[in-house]
Amino acid sequence: MKKYNTPLIDQLEKGPWPSFVTEMKKAGKTNEMANDAVGHLEKCYTTKMGYWKHGGIVGVLGYGGGVIGRYSEIGDEFPGVAHFHTVRLNQPSGFFYTSKALREICDIWDKYGSGLTNVHGSTGDLVLLGTKTDALEAIFAEYSSRGWDLGSSGSALRTPSCCVGPGRCEWTMYDTLGLNYALTQEFQDEMHRPTFSYKFKIKSSGCACDCVASIARADMSIIGTWKGDIQIDQNEVKNYASKMNINAEIINMCPTQCMSYDGKELKINNAECSRCMHCIAKMTKALKPGKERGATICIGSKAPIVVGSLLSWVIVPFIKIEEPYTEVKELIRKIWDWWDENAKPRERIGEVIEMKGMRSFLEAIGVPPMPQQIKEPRKDPFMFYTEDDIASYKAKEAEEKKTGKYKF
């Protein structure tokens, strides 16, 4: 195996933070592809430029995604990375593993690939980093026969992901791991055979902490929330009082200013609480969310290409998330139907809603307008009215004439 001289990236083996270069070299000791990846990277560092080509279309039979094709422009210089495709393995909900499972994954990967991985990719997949086209079918056979399927890529439902939720967290408002699994299973076809106009991502967080960053990077963000009063344990409040300045750290930081603390009792005007989670997160022993639990569904977030980043918009303020998750599944299908009808190629759902207007979207999925969906109402007077709208205003006015009471 060729030994590359790598003075530049060697400098990234120094310092306390674990070194990816060390990892690459480790794999490179026994693996030709990984070894060439090291040399290839040193070249990038030397010339301050990447050498990867646009990914071609590669994959496994019957699937339209799950593998990212990657070729080097300088494959003759580094034959081990001439082909260097990644395989996206669909991670288990919450990134839980047994050592047995991981070892199996590693063994197969050592056999067919570079021995390098991303644990995990940003979307959530367990990314196997670098293999050749002719190994793909074998890789798929080995993994799938052992219960592992590919994740997704292309214009498809991307691998859903979620926070650890009920696995370890006291705040989860629904079973994030269960929902994530159920949705992944339900939509296998939509994941593996890209027929959408562009990618669609679903991420599930158990509460407003949003530990899977769903609000910023999921076309559909499912975020746990509750109804009902925050449960207070006043004794625990007292314990916190000895450790923290409750007024400065909690009461004054409550965004709705709906709390008070007189040194003895903590009070919450729950009607005005926006369930932001600050007080609960910072006094977890004393405060617990209310008892009626479910999620808020938001839609449309994405990265900045083409017209600037979007954060997901609230569309369903509250929905129960309970097995078999029929309501969520149906909602997703309705969303896709509308998207399918209205999108141009490479238009994410948020972009299409922006183009066509929230009304068209909400009507299609059967959700009424609610002030919870907006931060503030429109500013300009450029409104559309349907004939039905006008008819209903007129009917209301006729009714008012009869009753003598206005309904605004």
């Binding site: 407003a208 609000i215 975020i223 746990g224 929330t225 109804k227 965004p255 709705t256 200013q257 009607a271 005005e272 609480c273 926006s274 369930r275 932001c276 999620a295 808020t296 938001c298 977030s301 600037g308 979007l310 954060l311 997901s312 918009w313 609230v314 303020p317 509250f318 922006e354 207007g357 929230m358 009304r359 909400l362 307008p369 609610m370 002030p371 919870q372 969906q373 907006i374 931060k375 503030e376 109402p377 429109r378 500013k379 300009d380 007077p381 450029f382 409104m383 559309f384 009215y385 709208d389 006008i390 205003y393 007129k394 006015e397 008012e400 206005y406 309904k407 605004f408």
Partner: protein, 356 residues
Amino acid sequence: MALPQRKTDIGPPHFEQFLPPVIKKNYGKWKYHEVLSHNTMVHVAESGDKLWTVRVASPRILSTDTIREHCDIAEKYCGGYLRYTTRNNAEFLVSDEKQLEPLKKDLASRGFKMGGIGYGITNVVHTQGWVHCHSAATDASGLVKAMMDELFEYFESKSLPNKVRLAVACCVNMCGAVHCSDIAVVAVHTKVPTVKHDLFKNMCELPTVIGSCPTRAISPDPANKSVKINPDKCMYCGNCFTVCPPISIKDPERDGVAIVVGGKINSLRSNPKFSKLVIPYISNEPPRWPKVVAAIKHIVEVYAANARKHERMGEWIERIGWERFFSLTGIDFTFQSIDDFTFMRDTMRTASTFKW
């Protein structure tokens, strides 16, 4: 009779000749003021001089007779000096305290209404309406009269948490600072315009008409040598009608008004804010638009009952949240309130945090 010699580009007369002596003397040297009542305030100069102002309601459409009556009063009590405000009230300026009560008595006896100072409701900024504008979807002056009759106590005596600035615009051109008012009424057309194709080619420029449409609803209609309007894209702004007379948009049964709330102009405490749409449509009901008036009064009362002192309408709403505004006022939330125009991105809610 021969006309006098015209002059051009002389500009307005210099204001100095219109300033009462007390102002000339203390120009730019005022120390503080005190609001004495809803109709009177006094400004005290560093010199110790005082200037009392009595504010008088105006319908803004004034006959020369009434202006002359203003003049009579000014001559009697104010040395002939007076001014009007940026919101079209008249102000009588008194430098001799002894004149103050007689002035007010005289004003009252002549039927002039005094008020509009401090934390209440002053005159309504408004526009031409049916009185003078071709674009009007309602009458502005009539609406103002009906509103202010109902809200009169807030002009004359009753206080609110802060000023409530009202405005009326008779079409979406919104002549006035309507778009940043605590409560404003804006008249709307609600039907797709029609085009008199035979007149089009002589009276309108095709690119101008097409360019006038904010939603690109207008496209050429070569067969008619005219344009056609896509009804799915038109939101009845009337801009095409403004640039092209053969386009017509008025419809007596469909023209109506919308109500926007929560705007402000000044920067005290919080930034200037646009008003936001809360009631998308009320039918035109001249001569007194009872539902519009009732809606405004209702909103003012809910504000009065709930806002903190010094909080403007929009500040109060932002503190409690728009969802709470809708629940407190009982106003129906409609699709029209969801922005689908230029600000959509910044107005949708992007967090699971809101109130039930």
